[in-house]
């Protein structure tokens, strides 16, 4: 009787300390993020990066971490909620600094198309080098609908839908081709897209289009918010929206992966012949993955365009598609969690270290080459499918 009580108590204390670890870990990351976004000082940025690198290298080697990883898995819902709160907290802490808030929104909004690419490439093995084209499709759709006074929420959703529809134009070639050929189709499409926008004066031509800020059931996003006696930058509105979008996309992708649908995607990616021999509908799986991914790209593009207030064809070129792919590869193909540090590195670091801003495309290229050559699994490698917490035994 006493031994049972002791084991019970130990289990509960591990669980309790696991919860504490989750809270502390997330709080620490939140504090790091706030400092990183807020600072202007290069030495502090460098120090924070070094700190992150050290943590990244050391933490997996500490034995206790394995147990705490289980804790994170067990307290999954809490971890997700706390992470969202932490990001929100960072947004609130930065309430009167528009520039860091804009960076935060950009990171969050770039993570969403990258989650889409993760579903397409990481899960189903579909190569897509036109991510920016679908992002841009959502952006232009939102712009056109906003100019026709369609309610903005509908415009944003429409951005995703139109991107998915445009993607369906490529479905037949994507299904009939493999590997390099499929890559060619998306690269060609990406180039076509920006060319088409540039020569098309109905969509603003090379000068682009202007958009109004989001107006959601009367709440104008582009108006600074007054709370108490303080004025918060209007970007906090976008932080909330982007966070909600990123969170929804993340939870969605995770549920898809940890399900029979994700399993079908993996089967198609790893061995089409065997998948077909066991009755899996290859075409349906690929179409689904491709469409879902493009929808996410489109929705993010719509929100991004309304936040920026202005879009032009040269925002959505092949180079931008490569940025999205770089984030996905750096983060770890197939692991949406890795997109967070990767997006911070690729989107924020060049802004913080202005002296590398000019060289950033060069550095992205070199970085991806190094990652692929020496650590192809990326920052956070993909782990075995754990359908539900605690079932990997």
């Amino acid at each position: 009787m006493r031994r049972v009580a002791a084991t019970d108590r130990r289990a509960r204390s591990v669980s309790a300390s696991g919860l504490v670890a989750v809270v502390v870990g997330i709080a620490a990351c939140g504090a790091w993020l706030w400092a990183f976004l807020a600072t202007d000082r290069v030495w502090l940025v460098a120090a924070l990066l070094v700190l992150a690198a050290i943590a990244f290298v050391l933490v997996p080697r500490v034995d206790a971490v394995g147990a705490y990883r289980d804790a994170f898995a067990r307290h999954r819902r809490v971890a997700v909620a706390l992470s969202a709160l932490a990001v929100l907290g960072v947004g609130v802490a930065l309430y009167d600094q528009p520039y860091p808030l804009l960076m935060l929104c950009t990171v969050l909004l770039f993570i969403v198309p990258c989650i889409g690419l993760t579903i397409q490439t990481g899960y189903a093995g579909i190569v897509n080098f036109a991510g920016a084209a679908f992002f841009g499709t959502g952006a232009y759709t939102a712009a056109v609908l906003a100019s026709r006074h369609v309610p903005h929420l509908a415009g944003i959703v429409a951005g995703g839908v139109v991107a998915a529809l445009v993607g369906s134009l490529l479905i037949l070639p994507m299904l009939r081709t493999r590997g390099y050929y499929a890559a060619l189709v998306t690269i060609a499409f990406g180039i076509l897209f920006s060319t088409f926008l540039e020569v098309n004066n109905a969509l603003g031509g090379p000068q682009g289009l202007k958009l109004p800020g989001i107006d959601l059931v009367g709440w104008k996003f582009n108006r600074d918010v007054a709370v108490g006696g303080e004025r918060a930058s209007f970007y906090v509105n976008y932080v909330v929206l982007s966070l909600a979008l990123a969170l929804a996309a993340f939870v969605f992708a995770r549920r898809v992966e940890r399900s029979w649908v994700g399993l079908a995607f993996d089967a198609v990616r790893l061995d089409e012949t065997a998948a077909a021999a066991f009755g899996i509908d290859i075409a349906r799986a690929k179409i689904l993955a491709f469409t879902l991914g493009n929808f996410l790209c489109g929705i993010a593009g719509a929100v991004y365009s309304m936040m920026q207030g202005f879009i032009a064809p040269n925002n959505f070129t092949f180079g931008e598609s490569l940025i999205l792919v770089s984030i996905v590869i750096l983060g770890g193909l197939g692991n949406p969690l890795g997109l967070v540090p990767a997006a911070l590195v690729i989107v924020v670091v060049p802004q913080k270290l202005q002296f590398i801003q000019e060289y950033r495309f060069l550095l992205y290229g070199v970085l991806v080459i190094l990652v692929v050559l020496f650590r192809p699994e990326g920052l956070l490698p993909r782990r075995a499918r754990e359908y539900f917490a605690g079932t990997l035994r």
Binding site: F252, R255, V256, S259, W260, V261, G262, L263, A264, D266, A267, L270, D271, T273, A274, A275, A276, A277, F278, G279, I280, D281, I282, L288, A384, R385, Y387, F388, T391, L392, R393
Partner: protein
């Protein structure tokens, strides 16, 4: 069935009775695996018909052949190595799972119940082959040795309760002891499902002798002999096909 100028299968007339275990033997390149591939829809034959359980399945896509109740293993191991054993089994079971996106994303409770039920069933199935393996259901397939991978492949073909099981050289690379074990397990499975029909391609004649009631010999894409193993082994044409000349 032709590949360019090479005729891999020609005028193969074969009847398989329900519930029997049929052996398919012949020298290398005689068309045995090609026959499986034509049967399961991976290749389209130029001429001929395939009928299964009263239904014409000639030229059907692989997925439809599978849904008709034909499952197979492959000569070259085709497990998804980065995935767990359970994942690989569920690929084999995929047609019986709830595959709609809405169900998988929104109805997590029901998904959990389906998951648990399948874990139970998989454990039971794998345990008939190897108890130890049943405890490794969530190990990556890449962590298994070749024998265990073979077992998983056979389980993957069995998990959807097919009516016809096609085994392509199941004992390749195994020792005699391992082969014997594998055959015991197969017979055990067969005992539990009397209506399961099995066709085995093999080079290991002990397996054919022990497992099959009847076998068919192919050579250069043609059937050259048919009958119980001992009769076929004594057939001079079969001996010539294998050895180059009839043994005296």
């Amino acid at each position: 069935m032709t590949f360019g100028g090479l005729t891999a299968l020609d005028a193969l007339d074969l009847d398989v009775a329900g519930g029997e275990i049929l052996g398919l033997i012949g020298p290398n390149g005689s068309g045995k695996t090609t026959f499986f591939n034509v049967l399961t829809g991976l290749y389209r034959p130029r001429a001929g018909r395939v009928e299964f359980a009263g239904r014409d399945i000639t030229g059907l896509a692989a997925q439809k052949v599978f849904r008709a109740g034909i499952a197979r293993t492959f000569q070259r191991s085709r497990l998804c190595l980065p995935l767990t054993v359970f994942d690989n089994l569920m690929i084999g079971n995929h047609v019986r799972l709830q595959r709609h996106l809405a169900f998988n994303v929104l109805r997590r409770g029901a998904l959990r119940r389906e998951f648990d039920a399948n874990v139970e069933a998989s454990r039971a199935l794998v345990a008939t082959f190897n108890r130890r393996l049943a405890t490794r259901l969530f190990d990556a397939a890449s962590a298994l040795d070749m024998i265990d991978r073979r077992r998983v492949e056979i389980c993957r073909a069995l998990v959807s309760a097919p009516r016809l099981l096609l085994l392509d050289e199941p004992s390749a690379g195994m020792t005699h002891g391992e082969t014997r074990e594998l055959m015991d397990d197969l017979l055990q499975v067969r005992a539990a499902r009397a209506e399961l029909t099995i066709v085995i391609i093999e080079h290991e004649m002990n397996v054919i002798e022990r497992m099959t009631e009847r076998c068919v010999v192919l050579n250069y894409g043609e059937k050259i002999a048919e009958g119980p193993f001992h009769a076929v082994a004594a057939d001079p044409r079969v001996q010539e096909a294998y050895f180059g000349q009839a043994t005296a």
